[in-house]
Structure formats: C-alpha cells, structure tokens
C-alpha cells in the first residue's frame, strides 16, 4: 500500500517521487501522472520540467511556501512550476509575470482554472510597470526563473520594490545565459557576491542531473 509522506508543507513523497495535492481533481496541466490515495488526489511533480522540484529532490533544506504565502513569480512561462505552487499555497496568491505572449496563452488557461493564480503580461525588467496591481499586497516570496544576462539585478530591482522586509527570495541562475565562456564556479561566485549585499544566502543547489549549469539559490533579506 502506498503512503503519502509529507516532506514539506504541501509536498508529499510517494515512493521515490514527489507530489502535490491536486487542487483541480481529475485534471492535469502538462501530462503529469495523477495518483489517488485515501480519497485524496496527488499530482506528480516532474523534476525535469520544474526546477523547484529538482531542488527539492537535490536536498533543499528550507521551504518557505505555506498555505497563505503571497508569491511574485517572474518568468512564469507556461505555468508548470506555478501549477504546483498553486497547489501548495491554497489560500495565498501567485502573480505570474512573463513577457512572452505565446507562453501567456497557455498560462491564462491555467489561471482560469486556479483561483489563486493571476497572469500579468509585462517585462520583469521594468517592475514599476506592474506596480499598480501588486503594491497593495505584501509579497512573502519572490521567485525568479528567467534566462537573462542581468537576472540578478532584475531580481534585486523587484525585491526592493515588492518583497516584504523579512521576505524570502528564490532565484534560478542559468549560468550559460549569463556568460558563455567563463567557468561555472567563476560566474556563480560573482553573481552571488552581487546578491550578498542585500540578501543572506541560505542554500545553493546544483540542479544536475535535471538541468545542466543551473543553480537554485534560496536567500533571505538581511
């Protein structure tokens, strides 16, 4: 008999895969597996599709999300990761920001099904362009997964404007979009140094084997 073991708030381990409780029973968003245990439906969280899942499997030790979290998510894309965060922060809110209209098409569809997800078509490089909508909410977690050369500075810009004083930041560093020819360690050291002035880094996770040259960084406001 399979048993769901809660490893973080809202994240369950069944066998050696991780799952979240499905908020929209009977429906999956990107072709993932659905499992029913004791009348509760769980959705498989694929580490190859979602970097947060990859980080959890690669021994994440601090998980900031809970039932009431308010999340600002930069680079929502088609909403694979967001759909799982939406399962976790049942009563909270997620603002998904992306610049690509094509990706938004799918994401809007997801937002219609889930009550706690909001789409915003905007450029994360210009945080003031969506301040009208977000300024009234205190953001607990700022999550960033964009592949831009200056992604750290975009992260800092957004955190200054929206993240609450003791808020938590998560960013996925894509080393190869920051620099093509430098060594991974060099780039990582330089980028985290930029971050260090304002944030205290809790953990750095290498996302191999799920993603190459990707680092998952979780940090807290100083």
């Amino acid at each position: 008999m399979l048993k769901a073991l809660e490893i973080f708030k809202g994240v369950y381990k069944i066998g050696n895969k991780i799952f979240t409780k499905n908020m929209t029973p009977g429906k999956n968003t990107y072709g993932e597996e659905l499992i029913k245990i004791d009348g509760v439906e769980y959705r498989e969280w694929n580490p190859y599709r979602s970097k947060l899942a990859a980080a959890i499997i690669n021994n994440l030790n601090f998980f900031p999300f809970d039932k009431n979290s308010k999340v600002l998510y930069l680079g929502s894309a088609e909403g694979t990761t967001i759909s799982h965060i939406s399962d976790i922060v049942e009563e909270g809110a997620i603002f998904g920001i992306d610049i690509s209209a094509k990706a938004m098409q799918k994401f809007v569809y997801l937002c219609e099904q889930r009550k706690n997800v909001v789409p915003i078509l905007a450029d994360a490089e210009k945080p003031q362009s969506y301040s009208d909508y977000i300024k009234n909410f205190s953001i607990d977690i700022l999550y960033q997964d964009i592949s831009q050369k200056d992604q750290v500075s975009i992260f800092l810009k957004n955190s200054r404007m929206y993240l609450k004083p003791d808020g938590c930041g998560i960013l996925v560093l894509k080393i190869r979009s920051i620099s093509l020819d430098e060594k991974t360690e060099v780039v990582l050291k330089r980028e985290t140094a930029k971050l260090n002035k304002e944030f205290e880094i809790i953990q750095e996770i290498n996302l191999e084997p799920y993603d190459k040259d990707h680092y998952f960084i979780i940090c807290k406001r100083r």
């Binding site: 098409q105 078509l121 093509l180």
Partner: protein, 265 residues
Amino acid sequence: MDNFEELKKKLLEKTKTEVKEKLSSDEINIIRAYSLTESIDATSNLLYEQLREWYSLYFPELTTLIKDQEIYLKLVYELCTKEKFTKEEITEFYKNTKKAEEIEKAAKNSIGSKIEEEALEEIRLLALNILNLKEEKKYLTKYIEKTTDRIMPNTSYILGNMLAAKMLLKAGSLKKLANMPASTIQILGADKAIFLHIKKKTKSPKYGIIYNSKLIMDAPRRQRGKVARILANNLAIALKVDYYTKRFIGEELKKRILKKIIKLK
C-alpha cells in the same frame, strides 16, 4: 480577499486582450508561414528520396535520365507503368522530344524488376502527395512575398522576400530587427560560428543568413566579406525605415550598395 478576486478578474481580462493583440500581427503570420516552407522543403525532399529509391527498383533508367524533381514526380504519377512511357505521353509533361525518345527506349529495354500493381499504386499516391506539398509551398511563398512587400518593403527589395522572412524568423519580430546594429545583422544566423569564435578564438564569421543574397553570391570569393558588410550596413537602415515609417527608399539604398561594391573593385 475580495480585493484579490476583483484584481484577478480584471487582470485576467486585461492579459487576455493583450495576448490577443500581440499575437495577431502580420509578422507572426510571416514567421509561421516561412517556418512552414522550410519544413515542407525538408519533408518533401525526404519523401522524394524514398520514392526514387522505391520506383527505381521498377524503372531504374528514369532516375538517371531525369534529375528534376517535379518532372520526375509528374511522370511517375501520370504514367506510372512502363508501358505508358511512350513519346507522345511523355512530351505532354516534359517538353523535350529528344529526351522523351530516350526515355521511351529505356522503358522498352528496362532492366527493372517486376513489381505488383498494388505497390505501384502506393508509389503513385506518394508521388501525388509530394506534388501537393510542393503546390502548398508555392502558395505559401506567394503569401510571404505579398506580406513582406507590405510590412518590410525596403528590406525585401534589397534582400529578397524569402530572405527577409528568414531574418524575421531568426530575430522574432520586426522591432527586434530594427533595433539591431549592422554588425549583428551581418552575422545573424551564424550562431555556431560566432560562439565558437568567442569561446575558442576561431576566425569570426563574415556572414549569416545574408550569405544567400544575390549580391554576395555574385561577388568574387575574396570580396564577399566586404560586400556582406556593405549590405548589412544598408539593411540596418532599411529595417529601421520599415519599422518606423514604411517609406520606400529601397531603390536609393540599392543604388548606394551597388556603387560601393563597384568601388571595391
């Protein structure tokens, strides 16, 4: 929480209309159409190769006699069995009496194997489908020519419609192209070579997509790099005009390019 629900409703509607607007430009249609023509080329070539392989079991001489894809396909589709390959029938689709005689002779003395009728019918249908793909490509090309003439008149005048569409596909939008410096336009499409150059210090590429333009193809090998630079410089201007005003200055630009190319010699 009411506040949030209201906001969500508002934003959902707003995003929906914005997405609709963004995805309904002419540029996107050109990009999709162009990318489709490339796929059709690849697919029809692949299928054609297989068809040749199969049909040449039955009539190997035709493969060596006719090199043109479209004529070959038409002959296979319309005539198919070797008995039908007479001079009169062939000239209906292939206006070359001398060749037609040769083919008729070859059909009579063919060393090809026997093949069952059903298999031959399959080959015939495949030929028809490939011909249809080619037809589809012609329509797409016409559409691309018409649309690029409208939304990027100067660029397509200098570079040709298909190459202009290819540039658009590579860059993603006309806005991005208009904001590119000439040096980027020059090597647009040569990603592999330029990254190798940055990483391993190999020689830098001289041209990307624009290599296929007539101006560069006609230039002697030694001058091609220089011609590419001249062309890219003027393309940068043409693209900016296309994006911001759509005024037609293509002729002037082309004259200027030709003048500079002559000066090279």
